[in-house]
Symmetry: C2
Subunit: 203 residues, 2 copies
């Protein structure tokens, strides 16, 4: 099977290959390494897990590599997504067109604030979080994005899991406790700034 660290780099290669596909037919592992910010031996090793070896002196076929990565990542179909929390961040995410290109389709955005429920956000209407389980079932939702305050994130994760959503992107600065079949990715922007601060101090 493909190592986790390789999986985590595949979307990055996909971005780079997508930037190149309109201008080049082939690329070398060196070119891709520079574009992706890794070393070229890492590129060759990662692609060997996909069964892609490239041709010495010629490199990799960009279109073929892209479709290979998309297949491995499962990006050959659309994934219906729900965003929980229609505040600053949740609304920005709902408006974001960049997810469509990857096949992530935000089909619902829910909140508990009665002042927000019914408001339009990018072609959708904010719906009540009370209907989360029904919405998940009606629209076959597979991925949930948590954009609520940290204090609500755990109960939201529980309700998503109960409704059958076992892939969760948690944007609230808190660690969720979930059962093994729920897979969680976490992004915490304050942590990222904290790491930048560390590097400024250890100069």
């Amino acid at each position: 099977t493909i190592p986790q660290a390789t999986v985590a780099r595949l979307p990055r290669y996909l971005h780079c290959l997508t930037d190149m596909v309109d201008s080049e037919a082939k690329c070398s592992s060196e070119q891709l390494a520079i574009a992706a910010g890794v070393n070229s031996a890492q590129v060759r090793k990662d692609f060997s897990y996909l069964g892609s070896y490239g041709t010495r002196g010629v490199g990799y076929d960009i279109r073929e590599l892209r479709s290979q990565i998309r297949k491995v990542l499962g990006l050959t179909r659309t994934y219906p997504v729900v965003i929980v929390g229609a505040g600053n961040l949740g609304s920005a995410l709902t408006n974001y067109k960049g997810f469509d290109a990857w096949g992530f389709d935000v089909v619902a955005v829910v909140d508990i604030d009665n002042d927000k429920i019914g408001d339009p956000v990018d072609g959708l209407k904010i719906e009540s979080a009370n209907r989360l389980a029904d919405i998940v079932k009606e629209r076959g939702i597979e991925i949930g994005i948590i954009a609520t305050p940290a204090s609500a994130a755990q109960s939201v994760a529980n309700r998503l899991a109960e409704a059958g959503v076992t892939s969760i992107l948690n944007l609230a600065p808190t660690i969720l406790q979930t059962s093994d079949e729920v897979f969680i990715r976490r992004v915490d922007l304050s942590t990222e700034l904290g790491i930048l601060a560390f590097h400024r101090n250890s100069g």
Copy 2:
């Protein structure tokens, strides 16, 4: 020196300790491990790099540990931050109060769109990106957050570096090429969703 992987976990421990500090005086490595989503041996190892060993059977002093981590991360003072790009994401970030608690103070938000320049966002006014170098100097800005389209991100990074901002959080889905003294953290939400999709497919 402290390993990179340990540094990346410190903000997470800080979140957990901050959640605990009002209710407990001490915590064990097991408690912290569960809260932070790592194993307890990792907790003990990470803290040994900080010179914190806890007392067998009693655990770690929460307040002491927090101030130790803040000191190591350099979070004992305020860092002036500029956000470049006042669109959906940039505005959400400017409105976000969570950064203040960590000492990250958004002191400017700039854009190139004349329709946006002069508009208020959370107590600030959107300023022209043409004045970036002056704004960095006038307000002693140390960290830059890039929230522009990917196509503009590289030129923005160059201008931030020229203006003396060598710590950058890049939110645009592109890999920046910068000189060695510029330190970059990257967050790409589509990549996070891509990794979730992979796990759904590999079952």
